[in-house]
């Protein structure tokens, strides 16, 4: 349980987030907005906040989207299913089926570029400039991440004519986020539609997330209780401790240390050691 003083701090942070969300509803119509929800702690809090504002202001809850990379934890799937129903969400499950089919649904299987549809081939050849014939089906590798997440995300925007996307990004997540703003306009190109990324929980720290989640009974995936700090793809996330995430030393350890590392990273290290 948090102190009264701490509770006041959290209330202020939540009020700031709601202000950002209300600004978004002033800029866009509800049907032009959507929420990305991975089932992780940050996007669950974001979804909850948007839902709260819609309830308080009697606005229609925007569409919610989640991306299935073909390598999700069962526990993530479970929380999405449970709260899709409990919160009465219009949840769209998105995935790059073409790539999953080409890999026979098997992680690590080689995908032959020529077997993919025109859009995916174009992304690989023209946008990523990848010239190989094959690549491994792994959600968090360079090509995998692009095809399974970025391409699916852009496709969702295009199909639903979405102008603004709510996302659960935080400043303290990684140094690269430090300069982010609450509203970020993506200018778009031939692959990505013009859209605004709305980031209402930017000012939350990992500690704020947990204190809010536990104080306001916001649901969380059971894996955090088992010690996971950050949830990526199932086969590539590891827990850093066996105590619940919120009891760990959040301030002095790295949240993403438990995430998967890429083949490219390992290969780069071996090159530096003089092996390649």
């Amino acid at each position: 349980m948090v102190t009264e003083e701490r509770k006041k701090e959290l209330e202020d942070k939540i009020a700031k987030s709601k202000e950002v969300i209300r600004d978004a509803f002033k800029k866009f119509k509800p049907e032009e907005l959507a929420v990305t929800w991975t089932g992780g702690k940050d996007s669950t809090l974001t979804t909850w906040l948007v839902k709260e504002v819609c309830r308080e202001d009697s606005i229609e809850m925007p569409k919610v989207m989640t991306i299935d990379e073909g390598d999700a934890f069962d526990e993530i799937h479970a929380i999405l299913k449970e709260y899709e129903k409990k919160w009465d969400l219009d949840l769209e499950w998105c995935s790059n089926k073409d790539v999953i089919d080409a890999a026979g649904g098997k992680l690590g299987a080689d995908v032959t570029v020529a077997d993919l549809n025109e859009t995916n081939q174009k992304e690989i050849r023209e946008r990523l400039d990848y010239t190989g014939d094959k690549f491994p089906f792994e959600a968090e590798s360079w090509i995998g991440n692009h095809l399974m997440k970025t391409v699916v995300f852009n496709d969702f925007l295009r199909r639903n004519n979405i102008k603004g996307m709510f996302m659960g990004i935080r400043w303290d997540e990684q140094p690269a986020r430090k300069k982010d703003d609450y509203f970020v306009l993506r200018k778009g190109d031939s692959y990505t539609p013009v859209h605004t990324r709305i980031q209402p929980i930017l000012h939350f720290t990992e500690r704020d997330i947990w204190d809010s989640t536990l104080t306001y009974n916001i649901p969380y995936c059971s894996l955090y209780k088992k010690g996971y700090r950050s949830l990526g793809a199932a086969t590539t996330s590891v827990k850093m401790s066996d105590i619940p995430a919120w009891e760990q030393d959040l301030e002095n350890t790295v949240e993403r240390a438990g995430r998967r590392q890429d083949k490219e990273k390992a290969m780069d290290r071996l090159r530096k050691l003089g092996y390649m």
Binding site: T236, V238, K239, M240, S241, D242, I243, Q248, D249, N252, T253, R256, A257, R259, R260, Q261, D262, K263, K265, A266, M267, R269, L270, K272, L273, G274, Y275, M276
Partner: protein, 396 residues
């Protein structure tokens, strides 16, 4: 049940330790530890480089059992998997890409830190010993000790490019004045090219290597201090070893290629446990026995896939034949044309077979420890046949 801690130091030659006869004074901490431990004076890994030798150290298996494979074979079992299944908490902290998640070494660990998501530099292409110690310290601070612990810590600091600190160089050769840029140039121009023509350069590289050994000895000392604050030095068996050595032109090369001479496969092996009577053990032993030994210490059944057997109790070990295998690559790049190379040690004779040359070599390692005189012409058919049997076992 006791905790077990396995500490592996990449690329550490046995002859760098005072306990193995070095007069250079590089390893005061390891030497004081050795004086109070059970140490094996003739310990050998199953391979001359990480990929081949860690298959023995962590999976009690030989590298080429299923042919040459990039990742650890699914049918092999890591010691972490066996222990975790038995309710032991398993934690790993290392920075060797060949032992990373990508290569399959993450199996069976409650905590697996391989540093691959951290940034490193060209001069220090790994998280250094101080950083690894910091991770271990952080982990131990949070660990509940509600279960017995198996902890594996691996240091990369002795591995090339040997960018050494002045304070350690001073201990090795006060007259050696060399910038870090020059050290890095030696790595690029001499080690990577395996160019041993310039004896002065090779000599300097060996001094830098020795400075890195001295640096790592200090990391080990710091680590033991961290253990002490959690009473782990009193409640654990601590094993210290290395995956392979390093060559400085002893047999025409540099670094650690696909060869099986003493500079590459003579490594330290120390068992430190306050409750054991210290001893020096001269029976040759293979690091393939480490996983079953850990099982024995932690009173857990070994995996049926393990090829080694327990070295414990130490005084009961009877002499046996040691084997190893690796791809016989020469130079820093692997080639499709590389063929396997094998070794066998028994009765003080080392036999090496290189498939690319289809030839045997043999050395009397007691009389000729530096392996200068090839005695393969005196080799009995019996011995050749024995090594052949090991080589052919895969065709079963």
């Amino acid at each position: 049940m006791k905790n077990t801690i396995l500490i592996t130091i990449d690329t550490l030659r046995a002859d760098m330790l005072g306990a193995h006869g070095s007069k250079a004074g590089l390893t005061p901490f390891m030497d004081s530890l050795s004086a109070n431990a059970n140490i094996f004076t003739k310990a050998h890994p199953t391979g001359p480089y990480t990929q081949a030798s860690f298959q023995g150290i962590l999976a009690s298996s030989y590298y080429l059992e299923y042919g040459k494979e990039k990742k650890l074979n699914e049918d092999k079992t890591l010691i972490s998997e066996v222990l975790k299944d038995s309710g032991i908490y398993t934690a790993a902290f290392h920075s060797n890409a060949y032992l990373s998640h990508f290569f399959g070494y993450n199996r069976g660990w409650d905590i697996f830190y391989d540093s691959m998501s951290d940034n490193v530099t060209d001069m220090y292409p790994f998280i250094r010993g101080s950083g690894i110690n910091g991770k271990v310290k952080e982990f131990l601070k949070n660990y509940s000790f509600s279960k017995p612990l198996f902890l594996w810590v691996h240091y990369m600091d002795v591995h090339e490019p040997y960018i050494a600190e002045d304070s350690y160089i001073l201990k090795i050769d006060p007259k050696l004045s060399i910038s870090k840029e020059e050290m890095f140039r030696l790595f690029k121009d001499v080690i990577l090219k395996r160019d041993i023509k310039d004896k002065g350069a090779v000599n300097t590289l060996k001094k830098l290597y020795m400075a890195k050994v001295a640096e790592t000895d200090d990391y080990l000392k710091d680590l033991f201090n961290i253990f002490s604050t959690h009473n782990l030095t009193d409640s654990s068996t601590i094993i210290v070893t290395s995956d392979h050595g390093d060559e400085f032109a002893e047999h025409g090369g540099l670094s650690h290629d696909g060869k099986f001479y003493s500079e590459l496969i003579d490594v330290p092996l120390i068992f430190y446990d306050r409750s054991y009577k210290p001893s020096r053990l001269d029976t040759p032993v293979s690091l393939i026995d480490i996983p079953p030994t850990i099982c024995s210490l932690m009173e857990v059944d070994p995996s049926p896939s393990f090829k080694g057997k327990p070295l414990y109790p130490f005084e009961d070990i009877s002499p046996y034949t040691l084997y190893g295998e690796a791809m016989g690559k020469l130079g820093n790049k692997e080639k499709d044309s590389d063929r396997p190379v094998y070794y066998m040690i028994g009765d003080d004779i080392k036999v090496i077979y290189r498939e690319d040359k289809d030839s045997f070599e043999a050395y009397d390692i007691e009389a000729d420890p530096k392996e200068r005189n090839d005695i393969q012409d005196t080799l009995s058919d019996n011995r050749k046949e024995k090594l052949n049997k090991f080589i052919k076992r895969k065709d079963r």
